[in-house]
């Protein structure tokens, strides 16, 4: 299709949205228990675990991508381990690889806001819920998650946006296979490399608008929810 008279390959956009959505979903499932466990942890190992979760913030994406290729490659330990259970597929250079890479790369963006939300829960309120005979699952679903929803929403939006904006890890783990693993950020790089500045402009502008909207919504959510929770 064309937009403003410029040819636009729509596939990278759809793929980017798909990867971001799958990553956010996977991180909600992994991140909620992980953040709760870390937030309540008393052990001194917590410092190390928190640092591990935050590592993707400071590590060059190429380092992460390199280790992921080694671990997830056809003869890598993860693939071989899964092979014991009859897994025969491939974990790199496809959608699966993109999602696994994104999940690890975006982990701190989901876990950190959720951890601070869990830590900010008033202890008295959780005790009150216990004494009202709410068991752990009941408390988690009906008290903890609703009271920590700000962290959940902010974490999800940031994860989604951060996954959309990824470049290094997805380039290394996904390769740059047109129509299969070529995401928007990589497509822009390709256009620039081949001096197709018009296409690069268009995709870049879309990214700027999208990112701005995302951040505005994060700040709006933060303001509204903190006002409501007093």
């Amino acid at each position: 299709m064309t937009l403003f008279g410029i040819p636009l390959d729509i596939h990278p956009i759809w793929l980017t949205l798909e990867v971001a959505a799958l990553t956010t979903l996977a991180l909600l499932i992994i991140g909620i228990p992980l953040a709760w466990w870390l937030a309540r942890m008393q052990s001194r190992w917590r410092v190390l675990l928190e640092a591990l979760v935050s590592l993707p913030l400071v590590l060059p994406p190429t380092v992460l991508g390199f280790y992921l290729i080694i671990a997830l490659g056809p003869s890598g330990p993860v693939t071989e381990f899964l092979g014991l259970f009859g897994f025969e597929g491939q974990l790199t250079f496809n959608l699966m690889g993109l999602v696994i890479g994104s999940v690890i790369f975006s982990l701190p963006f989901m876990v950190q806001p959720m951890m601070s939300a869990f830590q900010a829960l008033p202890e008295e309120v959780l005790d009150a819920a216990r004494l009202m005979r709410a068991g752990f699952v009941d408390r988690f679903v009906n008290v903890i998650l609703p009271l920590a929803r700000q962290g959940l929403v902010v974490g999800s939006v940031l994860t989604f946006a951060h996954t959309v904006g990824e470049f290094g890890v997805v380039l290394m783990v996904g390769g740059n296979i047109e129509g299969e693993t070529r995401l928007v950020s990589i497509a822009i790089f390709d256009h620039v490399e081949s001096f197709e500045y018009e296409q690069a402009h268009l995709l870049s502008a879309i990214m700027v608008v999208f990112s701005l909207l995302t951040l505005v919504s994060v700040y709006l959510i933060n303001r509204r929810l903190s006002a409501r929770l007093g």
Binding site: P122, A128, R130, L131, L147
Partner: protein, 365 residues
């Protein structure tokens, strides 16, 4: 009956209660200065901290045995926290519903929902968000929420500490009547002697993480070195009820409930025409400072309450000051604090009959 010996270490604080036992009926006050371990003992008794060790029994149920503990959610405790601990994401109605839905159908005192709402006065607030409630309203909701959950034991942690004086006075009245009428065994944490004297039947004195002693309120008010007396000096607490005076409905009087078989009720004129004071059963707190003594009735004096009394004993409270313990006609105790000189000049001694003079303006303030 509560019986146990609990320990719990929280940061630098160590609770080592030592063996304790007390009846659970009525109101038991955990009394001590801040840092004495009252709240820690209450948390340990409620089963809210899994680092708790030791033993605890409630009647014939084992709540704690070494490391093993009955989960807090199965102890049927209704707790009113210092800061109310409301669920911020739910309305007033939603907070009540949370407790009600989880209340057992087959045990615990069933108190009518509407009666709880009416007594705590939260009816007009039901659809409000809890974020917009005042401090007093929050505590009212906390009380209603605790009661609606059919608790076998009510635990109340300094519920008045964060409130202004007016809300404090209203809530104290509410607690007094609710505890009296619903008869749920209650454990109350407080560092305020006034709350003990108004509400408690017995006192667990705590100091430095230990249970120092357990006494009936009567015994605790019967010794001059009572920790309850450190701020305001000796105090008496009389049981009775408030009623309007027949031909002057705007004025109130306090009629005591005789504690002995041949006792006669004693009547105090109250120094208030307030509609803010609830009618009905309550306790009257009389400070020894506000009680003067005379050999006989005196005319032409502003003190309106002149009560015949008998001196039971006289004890020294401090340099130059003595506490005169009196028995009124209804068998209840009144204390007067006077100077050594007054005792010597009047020749006061145990066994004598005197007239106790009490300013009505000093009562119910």
């Amino acid at each position: 009956m509560f019986e146990g010996n609990l320990s719990l270490k929280l940061g630098n604080f160590q609770l080592d209660s030592g063996p304790f036992a007390f009846h659970s009926e009525g109101v038991t006050a955990l009394f001590g200065r801040s840092g004495s371990g009252k709240s820690t003992l209450l948390r340990a008794m409620a089963g809210l901290d899994r680092r708790t060790r030791g033993s605890l029994r409630y009647h014939d149920e084992v709540w704690q045995d070494g490391r093993r503990a009955l989960p807090a959610e199965r102890r049927d405790i209704g707790m009113v926290f210092q800061h109310a601990a409301l669920l911020a994401n739910r309305s007033v109605r939603g907070n009540l519903a949370f407790a009600e839905q989880r209340a057992p159908r087959d045990r615990g005192p069933a108190i009518d929902r509407n009666e709880i709402i009416e007594r705590t006065g939260i009816g007009p607030l039901l659809d409000r968000s809890v974020a917009n409630l005042s401090g007093g309203e929050r505590q009212r909701l906390a009380i209603a929420r605790a009661l609606i959950g059919r608790p076998r034991v009510l635990m109340v942690d300094e519920p008045l500490a964060a409130l202004d004086w007016r809300a404090k006075a209203e809530l104290l009245d509410l607690f007094e009547s609710v505890i009296h009428d619903f008869g749920i065994p209650t454990i109350l944490i407080t560092h305020a002697p006034l709350e003990v004297e108004r509400l408690a039947d017995r006192v667990v004195f705590m100091d430095a993480g230990r249970v120092e002693r357990v006494e009936s309120l009567r015994a605790a008010l019967d010794r001059v070195d009572s920790p309850l007396f450190t701020e305001e000096g000796p105090v008496a607490s009389l049981t009775g009820h408030v009623e309007p005076i027949t031909d002057e409905p705007r004025r109130l009087r306090f009629v005591t409930t005789p504690q002995t078989n041949d006792g006669q009720p004693v009547i105090f004129q109250l120094g208030t025409d307030g509609n803010s004071i609830g009618r009905g059963p309550r306790r009257l707190r009389v400070r020894a400072d506000d009680v003067a003594l005379a050999r006989k009735r005196i005319d032409g004096i502003s003190m309106q309450n002149q009560l015949p009394a008998r001196i039971e004993r006289i004890e020294t409270t401090g340099p130059g000051r003595k506490a005169v313990f009196l028995t009124l006609n209804d068998g209840q105790r009144l204390v007067s604090e006077v100077t050594d000189r007054a005792v010597a000049d009047m020749g006061l001694d145990a066994g004598q009959g005197v007239t106790a003079l009490v300013k009505s303006a000093a009562l119910l303030r």
